[in-house]
Symmetry: C2
Subunit: 390 residues, 2 copies
Amino acid sequence: MVNIEQCLAALTQVLGENDKDVPLHEPKFNGNEWQYVKDCLDSGWVSSVGEYVTLFEQKIADYTGMPYAIAVMNGTAALHVCLLLADVAREDEVLIPSLTFVATANAVTYCGAHPHFIECHESHLGIDLDKLRTYLTQIAIVKDKQCINKLTGRRIKAIIPVHIFGHPIEMSLLQTLAQEFHLKIIEDASESLGSFYRGVHTGHASDIACLSFNGNKVVTTGGGGAILIKDEALAKKAKHMTTTAKRPHRYEFYHDEIGYNYRLPNINAALGCAQLERLPQMIENKRHLAKRYQDVFSDIQGASILQEPQYAKSNYWLNALILDKPDRSFIEHFIDSAVERKYHLRGLWTPMDRLPMYQSSPKMDLTMTHQLFDRVISLPSSPHLGGVYA
Amino acid sequence: MVNIEQCLAALTQVLGENDKDVPLHEPKFNGNEWQYVKDCLDSGWVSSVGEYVTLFEQKIADYTGMPYAIAVMNGTAALHVCLLLADVAREDEVLIPSLTFVATANAVTYCGAHPHFIECHESHLGIDLDKLRTYLTQIAIVKDKQCINKLTGRRIKAIIPVHIFGHPIEMSLLQTLAQEFHLKIIEDASESLGSFYRGVHTGHASDIACLSFNGNKVVTTGGGGAILIKDEALAKKAKHMTTTAKRPHRYEFYHDEIGYNYRLPNINAALGCAQLERLPQMIENKRHLAKRYQDVFSDIQGASILQEPQYAKSNYWLNALILDKPDRSFIEHFIDSAVERKYHLRGLWTPMDRLPMYQSSPKMDLTMTHQLFDRVISLPSSPHLGGVYA
Ligand SMILES: Cc1ncc(COP(=O)(O)O)c(C=O)c1O
Ligand SMILES: Cc1ncc(COP(=O)(O)O)c(C=O)c1O
């Protein structure tokens, strides 16, 4: 049994005694946020027209090194469009981890396609690629360059790796597997802005990836997201689709395909521009905070702090305490005790295959996912908790 | 032939000589916008948690008199959810005007349903209810309380009236017709915030309606929208569906149906709260501006300014000049000449049935819609152009 008092003491060592709540992750707006937002209000350009959107997209592209970034109103919308760009069609299947935020599964459903749940690995919480290979070899065949699920008869069109809590999975192995089985890769990098895989920002292992700037993410725009794209024509298509597919014209309204109103308002982009200026510093702080958690929890028996894989540099979006053995009651007890000290912890998301609307979706053996659900607790991880700046 | 020089002179009489552009519709943030937005930044609550969202919803409900308002991220999302709440299902048909913004049609498509285009009336640009009755009598039969399109065999589930440019259609007649044919009504009040039908705000003739707070609307939140609902249980459902269908819980993540991330960020709601405070004044200004357009154009042969129906009080979202006879080349010429004086005019939206993705959708005779496309020009209509306040 993990000693709960020791765990609380360790938390206190890092987070100090507080009279105010310490949320799981919260933003601070101590840079140019107000100046840029005020500029929007003064100019009247708060909406879709305005230069902060363009600037924000440029800054995201520069930071991630992906050639094109399209700002949209959240990560869910970004994922939806990524799937459409990857030609995921009605009745296709898309492989996604059962261990993820529900948006990954819902975006597949929005396309009329079926999520097909796959297992994760305890070392990084992302897809277990060895088990996936064995599974696909058993249930899938490749016919005419298409991957067919022998059990359902449906095409498996794509796979969405999620870099859980910011920890990149081993993308080169995934790429090999995806090539073999003719799967398109869409990287869900919602949690991994500022995370690098072998020196390159997450998102590069695929042609299309998505980011989220939700209020609990490293960079927030209130609500926001981005589509990262390599190909210029595809980037143009993404911009077109997310702005109601209106043909550019000074006064005419002509839309040439089914489009979406997914554009990010200028005022939200302004917030993002200011936040991105401070991103390198925030990542440094977050990595420092992770180190502190690792240090103080290193003496505790039966649990440890999740560390970045050797091949990666993680943003440590959320620090995770992992118990050696499943213990639901410890998790609940720990969360409840911590909140008395104002520390807000959280368990993992309920695995997707346990949610009512996805209970009958296709899936592989998910023993590890279900175990981890009873082993992992997320710890407060805001950048300013690192103690590097106030 | 309408005299273009006279039209330009009339415009100048209302809008004055300008060295800056006079857009079709633009916001001014000269109320409490700064204060509320700054409050969001200072508190760190820019995202989905935060009290401006609740306050904004309350203020919308108060103003419109609808019992519940759910803030969402735009009018398109609001419409999508309205259709889901009305149980519009895959392969259903939904009657919508061909003369509308593309979002009305797209929202139907998002549900896997088919837009079915109907004709408009020149006196208010909304649905022509007499022609619709004749048409439905011909092509539809009611079986087991369901309206079936005899030509396609599909169920016609609902009808979406749009109060074009803010002018309410004759809702009591529509209600009678809808009852007779067992159609659910969803009011697209995107353009009619501040418009009243027989003393009651638009949206009340149906159980569910939507608003838009896009940058070109009377009230803007950057991007935003709202669902107006009468029934409490339905309102709870709407809130649940638009916030990822997460069951309320302090730290667990459990979602009990397919949900959407459609919530409006707090920072955008803050903007909306400030704008709503000034709404009555803005409507007054807009009505004053409409009066001025009506006056100066009254002498011009062959064209007139669209006026509100007798049974309604319109917000005059966009003032419309209507030519007696179709004249595409006049429209284009007038728009081009006006822009030289910095006045930005606009034609009507391309009728939906002429867009490539909707060309084979079911439709009734749309002669008037196609005529109006070549007869209507929208004039600059921002509230501050009324000359009542600066
Ligand atoms: C893995 C993952 N995918 C998708 C999303 C969706 O992003 P958003 O909340 O911006 O819609 C999130 C974050 O919420 C996420 O963590
Ligand atoms: C009639 C109508 N319906 C729907 C919408 C969609 O609203 P939004 O642009 O906020 O998505 C608009 C406005 O743009 C509209 O004018």
